[in-house]
């Protein structure tokens, strides 16, 4: 027993010292944020996609978005027959109790306006999300240049 203690300590130290190679899901209380990505075409307007899982028994609300890259806001993409319209959603989006919020292309999404320059795909951009109950969660969104996934997988398409 005494002989194995130093090895156990070493193992813990290594675990704590070594961060993940790429950021894993970001957690805050009952909330887990998966796969934040930013699509930044030229033109000054970027779209943020991600999914949030709420394992708690009370709903929360994603209400704030900040980033050094641009001015944050929420939008819904609304389909009306063959027409598509983008509508501002300043009230943000509900994260249902025991459920998911999905921000994905063609649907609800975050938007950064006034983006100057063009970050390169693979670059990580700091983003701060504010939830009504859980508070603020800072994470990094990965910049993607093109549509993700060869055969169908889109952004924000997480379980």
């Amino acid at each position: 027993m005494a002989a194995s203690a130093p090895w156990a300590l070493l193992a813990w130290a290594l675990l704590l010292a070594c961060g993940p190679a790429s950021p894993g899901p970001a957690r805050l209380g009952d909330l887990t944020v998966h796969g934040p990505v930013l699509v930044v075409p030229p033109g000054g307007n970027a779209a943020l996609y991600l999914s949030v899982h709420n394992r708690g028994s009370e709903a929360d609300r994603l209400i704030g978005l900040e980033s050094p890259l641009g001015e944050g806001g929420w939008h819904r993409t609304v389909r009306e027959g063959g027409r598509v319209r983008m509508v501002a959603a300043p009230e943000g989006f509900e994260v249902p109790a025991g459920g998911h919020l999905r921000l994905s292309p063609g649907g609800d999404h975050g938007m950064l306006t006034g983006v100057r320059g063009l970050p390169t795909p693979g670059q990580r951009v700091p983003v701060a999300l504010r939830f009504a109950r859980a508070g603020e969660l800072r994470l990094e969104a990965e910049v993607v240049g093109q549509a993700a996934g060869g055969d169908g997988a889109g952004y924000g398409d997480h379980p």
């Binding site: 699509v39 075409p41 030229p42 033109g43 000054g44 307007n45 970027a46 779209a47 939008h75 993409t77 389909r79 009306e80 027959g81 063959g82 027409r83 598509v84 319209r85 983008m86 509508v87 501002a88 292309p105 063609g106 999404h109 938007m111 306006t113 063009l118 240049g145 093109q146 549509a147 996934g149 060869g150 055969d151 169908g152 997988a153 889109g154």
Partner: protein, 227 residues
């Protein structure tokens, strides 16, 4: 007790199978295109990922300016060619990059599978926001996704004429935001014209790279045919 002799049983079975086969064939030949999904019956069924239009749309005739500032007659330039047509705008953060990104990825995949196939396809993006969709901005926006996308623009009247010709919902500037950050509503789908100068297929916001690749591959190799 007599048992069944194997030869008549085999003969009967073969006859029954042949008869069923003939009947089955006749049934298929009588079918018109249906929208209900049915199991593939050999090589006669084609399942398109795009939505098959109940009545095909003629390749529209309209003239706008390309990103070099030159006149571009859409019908004349794309006649007889596989052509994707989409009406969007460069300040659109979600839908327009999504469509163009998936199309670009599918075309890369297609070119890898069928070298030279890319040359047979025109991708035409009409910028329906003349205030912000300058030729320079259209060009850099399209080049971000991939090479060789045609960007077209014009004044309000020319853009309206183009949308009317293509029979798509007219773009509308949405009320609310200021003069820099306004949004524009527009047709959500991409139209695809085949070499017969008709659009049999259109592609909604749910279309992904794999869907495009599947249909474009079939269109390049075999051409259009109804489901």
């Amino acid at each position: 007790m007599t048992s069944w002799s194997p030869i008549p049983v085999l003969g009967f079975t073969l006859l029954a199978a042949a008869w069923a086969g003939v009947g089955c064939d006749r049934g298929l030949a009588g079918e018109s295109g249906s929208t209900a999904p049915e199991p593939a019956m050999g090589r006669r069924r084609v399942i398109w990922q795009g939505r098959v239009l109940p009545a095909p749309l003629a390749r529209p005739s309209f003239e706008l300016r390309d990103t070099d500032g030159q006149p571009y007659d859409f019908a004349e330039r794309t006649r007889g060619r596989l052509t994707l047509l989409f009406f969007g705008y460069t300040s659109c953060p979600d839908v327009c990059p999504m469509h163009m990104g998936h199309i670009a990825a599918a075309l890369r995949g297609l070119e890898a599978e069928l070298p030279g196939a890319r040359q047979a396809i025109d991708v035409v993006f009409v910028g329906i926001d003349p205030q912000r969709d300058t030729p320079e901005r259209l060009r850099s926006w399209l080049d971000h996704f991939g090479p060789g996308f045609v960007g077209l623009g014009g004044d309000e009247a020319a853009l309206q004429a183009a949308q009317r010709a293509a029979l798509v919902p007219m773009a509308r500037r949405e009320p609310g935001a200021d003069d820099e950050n306004y949004t524009v509503s527009h047709a959500s789908y991409v139209l695809l014209y085949t070499p017969d100068d008709l659009a049999h297929l259109r592609y909604s916001l749910d279309t992904r790279t794999g869907d495009w690749l599947q249909d474009l591959r079939r269109l390049v190799r075999e051409g259009w045919r109804p489901s």
